[in-house]
């Protein structure tokens, strides 16, 4: 977060009451029925259109509509945006918009001291205060003195603004989020037009709701314009961020994966089959793909996680780019079938949108605790490549890489993302597909000479991948299965020497992938020195910002972020050994740390967090400084 790097500029704008800033963190918080995710999403869009860099953090409960006003029903959306490079959703919000007492109570601890609270007094009645376990009204008892407070009746303002449309009280109050969004748009000097267009489209079938929501949005904006400017309500101005020229859009991790899969299918020249079973936070990928049928995408909602990967294996055998997706507990259910895909050497992409575990754990919160499961979690010696994306936009390229590895090595590949990446959005410079190297698949169709039997385990001598033969190919009938097969004929063979040879071959094939992936690069800093911070996945943002921060104070620290987690890039061990100390921040209890120690015998030190929340920059910064001072 840029605010932590540079102190925000003070009043210095040309207009009275306008503050110029480099970056701001805003958190919208309300009841899970208040539409905070929608509000945040639309605010994100307007931020992107204003040319700011941004990162978002949707933080919502597992309950769909928890009892109104309760602490566990609070849904929040945080966005960090600015004119500088933004890598995380921000350690501490500068502005908290609290739609009810519960939202205030659960989100206040994160708010920067001196930050602005905007609260809807209409929701701070006795009943709601009690539900949020407040003894006294915090808006009145002085407990909010360390912050700036702007409390007024948003509910009443909204009701008045939509009065002409004759909505019932309940429907009228549901426009509160648009009223609030209107106010936020005014605060940051944003154009309302794109959002009005969006509302027109969203409510194209209900003119009354359309007009009411537009009226609420305009009223919130007008309130800002006409309100007393001497109060804490100020306008902020942020210059557009520097960005490479090109066309940009915002993208969530889930959408980037869906698009990456379609791209992977096109680059491999294959139709795509996607088998999934609904699970949070992975379902969004399936939702997106069902709308992309013209790209030869077949989607299948299976009866369970096992069936989802089963169908995927069947489609892979039949010649599709086959994909399944889930989250931790669902991935566990798929384990046996992954073993079948490894044994039959069929290409699959398995997307794991990790969430807090074990068991059901924290379904809507983020964690990186499935690395062991991805690398080690199957019966037998069952090696499988594992790769991870670092951010929403990064998901596109990583997904294409997963597709490439799957078809070029005839293997299932696990792609690790997480709840944070899946839901969060960031600007994405839209690539041109002609810049990507295609990796077309050649199916095997050559019939062996008369008197010779076809062996489905014919291998490429360089990559060790076996041939891919689609059922329906004349003259190449063969049988595959989970039972051990002969290296030489493909028939059942459990002999000692054959199992040894096949196990060794399966391992060598996956280990050998290291020769076909890029060398590990250093994100920032030197390729040797006193300390390297090593990360993977969505910790990229906070690690990068923390390392930048520490480096700006003159410390020699480097950041290495690993995409290919199994096998590791072949220079990684040698690279890590050039640093005196290795710090591994992870949202688990130390899983990458174990892998690094195991593979390279290096003294990797863990920094662990499993609170369901992403790392704060300050937490990593403190760990780095602590380690440097040892």
């Amino acid at each position: 977060m840029a605010t932590a790097v540079k102190a925000p500029a003070q009043d210095g704008g040309t207009d009275v009451g306008v503050i110029q800033k480099e970056s701001v963190v805003v958190r919208f918080a309300g009841d899970s029925g208040d539409g905070m995710q929608l509000t945040g999403g639309q605010f994100t869009l307007s931020t992107a259109l204003a040319g700011n860099d941004l990162a978002t953090f949707p933080d919502f409960p597992a309950e769909i509509r928890a009892p109104q006003g309760t602490l566990f029903g609070v849904s929040a959306f945080q966005i960090n945006f600015g004119s500088t490079r933004i890598e995380t959703a921000g350690d501490q919000p500068d502005v908290l918009i609290a739609m009810n007492p519960a939202a205030l109570k659960t989100n206040l601890p994160q708010l920067r001291k001196g930050g602005l609270i905007i609260a809807d007094t209409g929701e701070f009645g006795e009943r709601n205060l009690k539900k949020a376990h407040y003894e006294a009204n915090p808006l009145e008892d002085g407990s909010l003195d360390p912050w700036q407070l702007l409390a007024f009746d948003i509910s009443k303002q909204t009701l008045e603004s939509v009065k002409p449309f004759g909505l019932g009280n309940k429907d009228a109050l549901r426009c509160k989020n648009m009223w609030t969004l209107g106010l936020a748009l005014w605060m940051f000097g944003r154009d309302r037009e794109p959002l009005i267009d969006w509302l027109k489209n969203k409510f194209s079938k209900d003119e009354v709701l359309r007009d009411a929501n537009i009226a609420a949005l305009n009223a919130g904006h007008a309130y800002g314009e006409t309100a007393e400017l001497s109060g804490p309500l100020k306008q902020f101005r942020l210059a557009p961020a520097d960005a490479a020229p090109g066309l940009y859009r915002t993208i969530t991790g889930a959408d980037a994966i869906a698009l990456g899969l379609v791209a992977g299918a096109q680059l491999s020249g294959l139709p795509m089959f996607f088998g999934g079973y609904p699970i949070t936070p992975a379902s969004a990928i399936l939702h997106s793909l069902t709308k992309m049928r013209e790209f030869d995408v077949t989607t299948f909602q299976a009866e369970d996680e096992i069936a989802a990967i089963g169908a995927t294996i069947g489609a892979a055998w039949a010649g599709h780019l086959a994909v399944t997706s889930s989250s931790g507990p669902g991935i566990a259910l798929k384990s046996e079938a992954m073993g079948l895909a490894v044994m039959t050497e069929l290409p699959l992409v398995i997307v794991n949108s990790q969430r807090g575990g074990p068991s059901t754990g924290l379904p809507t919160k983020t964690e990186q605790s499935d690395l062991y499961q991805a690398v080690y979690g199957r019966n037998g010696d069952t090696p499988m490549p594992v790769i991870a994306s670092r951010s929403p936009a990064d998901c596109f390229e990583v997904t294409i890489e997963a597709c490439r590895l799957a078809v070029q090595f005839m293997t299932p590949v696990m792609l690790l993302t997480d709840g944070y990446i899946a839901n969060a959005a960031e600007p994405w410079r839209v690539p041109d597909m002609t810049d990507f190297e295609p990796f077309p698949v050649q199916f095997h169709t050559e019939v062996p000479a008369e008197g010779t039997k076809f062996n489905p385990f014919l291998r490429d001598p360089e990559t060790l991948k076996r041939v891919w033969v689609k059922p329906g190919t004349p003259g190449l009938m063969h049988r595959i299965g989970g039972i051990e097969k002969s290296y030489a004929t493909g028939n059942i063979d459990y002999s000692a020497e054959n199992h040894q040879r096949m196990t060794d071959t399966r391992k060598a094939k996956i280990d050998g992938i290291a020769n076909f992936i890029p060398d590990q690069v250093v994100e920032v800093g030197k390729d040797h020195g006193p300390l390297v911070v090593v990360g993977w996945g969505s910790t990229y943002g906070p690690i990068r910002q923390a390392v930048d921060l520490v480096r700006s104070k003159g410390h020699d620290v480097a950041h290495v972020h690993i995409r290919h987690l199994w096998p590791f890039p072949k220079n990684l061990g040698e690279l890590l050994k050039r640093y005196d100390r290795i710090l591994v921040p992870e949202m688990n209890t130390g899983q990458l740390k174990t892998l690094l120690r195991d593979q390279f015998l290096v003294d990797a030190k863990p920094l662990n967090k499993v609170s369901g929340q992403p790392f704060r920059i300050a937490e990593i910064e403190a760990a780095i400084l602590g380690m440097l001072n040892q």
């Binding site: 066309l247 698009l259 992309m292 073993g339 299965g481």
Partner: protein, 338 residues
């Protein structure tokens, strides 16, 4: 009811046999079923390279290794899921699923339910031997209550599932039953199953010579067969015991009854209408030995298959659209940085 076209065979039964040595116990009912299938394939007008045999785990699931077709020996209970992927990816393939009472109705019961209700176009041959053979003789979900086995030494306490009742309850559109030794009838049942476009569920009573020998003797024993078996034929009266007995629907109790047919007068005997689901349920449920065992095509009332429905919908959704990935990436609101 599906039409069966007469086929001039282009292959011989031997063309459908792989070079693999069959590894079932001597005397196992599976041999007879394998033989019947290999005999039937040439008459279906299909080609070995467009044919896929798939299975889960269990004795019967070794079946694909012995067929000179494409074959996939998958994992326990999951063959229906893998078959679904194969068929959706390539609807032209002719898919046969070989399973057993444990594989199909215990560990894979859920998948079997969904396969049948979706009506994926495939033939399911469920070898029912009422025992777990490959794991050495434990009771299975179709074992009769009181079955003594290594895991139930004093007798199992569970009620068995009736495979055909399960299939019908799951919304199956084709339900048939046959016996491993019925070499005359089985090919007819297999041809009918193949002709039906949808999930064709065929239960085959199969004798396990090692762990449950003689389980079906009471009605499979040749001499007794006319009295204990009733072979159903669409549009024909339900007669057995060489035409001396028949089934009657008592319209007061809404139950089937066995009646004597005197002097060939079958006027009170019910005519088999294989599209009648209520009667199909009664036929499957008839208690033995008070009633004969119903065999042949018990129910057939075709409906569009899942794979066909998917293809139709995809064609519709694709119509008039071009697959322009660069345009897809740029869909929605975007902005230009200069």
């Amino acid at each position: 009811m599906n039409e069966i076209t007469k086929i001039v065979p282009a292959t011989k039964p031997d063309d459908w046999a792989s070079d693999q040595e069959v590894r079932w116990c001597p005397g196992c009912g599976d041999y007879a079923i394998l033989k019947a299938v290999q005999r039937t394939m040439p008459e279906l007008g299909v080609e070995p390279h467009n044919t896929v045999f798939m299975s889960g785990i269990g004795c019967s699931s070794r079946f694909p290794y012995y067929m000179e077709t494409y074959g996939f020996h998958t994992i326990h209970g999951r063959a229906p899921t893998i078959a679904t992927g194969v068929k959706l990816a390539n609807p032209k393939l002719d898919v046969w699923l070989i399973t057993g009472d444990g594989d199909g109705l215990s560990i894979g019961g859920n998948h079997m339910l969904h396969l049948i209700r979706r009506n994926l176009d495939c033939q399911v041959l469920l070898f029912n031997n009422e025992i777990y053979g490959l794991t050495k003789g434990q009771y299975s979900p179709t074992s009769r209550t009181g079955t003594r086995s290594p895991t139930s030494p004093t007798g199992s306490l569970e009620s068995p599932v009736k495979p055909c009742a399960f299939a019908l309850g799951a919304g199956g559109r084709f339900v048939a039953r046959t016996i491993d030794t019925a070499q005359k009838h089985m090919p007819d049942v297999l041809k009918r199953a193949h002709a039906n476009k949808g999930t064709s569920f065929v239960e085959i009573y199969q004798n396990c010579v090692v762990y449950n020998d003689g389980a079906f003797d009471q009605f499979t024993e040749k001499k007794q067969a006319p009295q204990t078996q009733i072979w159903l034929e669409h549009g024909k009266p339900m007669l057995f015991a060489n035409g001396t007995k028949g089934l009657k629907l008592n319209r007061e109790t809404l139950r089937l009854e066995v009646v004597d047919v005197v002097d060939g007068d079958a006027s009170q005997v019910i005519v088999h209408d294989e599209t009648n689901k209520s009667v199909a349920n009664m036929l499957i449920d008839m208690p033995f030995p008070e009633f004969p065992v119903a065999l042949g095509v018990i129910y057939c009332d075709p409906a569009p298959s899942f794979d066909e429905a998917v293809t139709v919908q995809e064609t519709k959704l694709k119509a008039g659209k071009t697959a322009d990935l660069n345009a897809l990436l740029r869909r929605g609101q975007s902005w230009e940085v200069h």
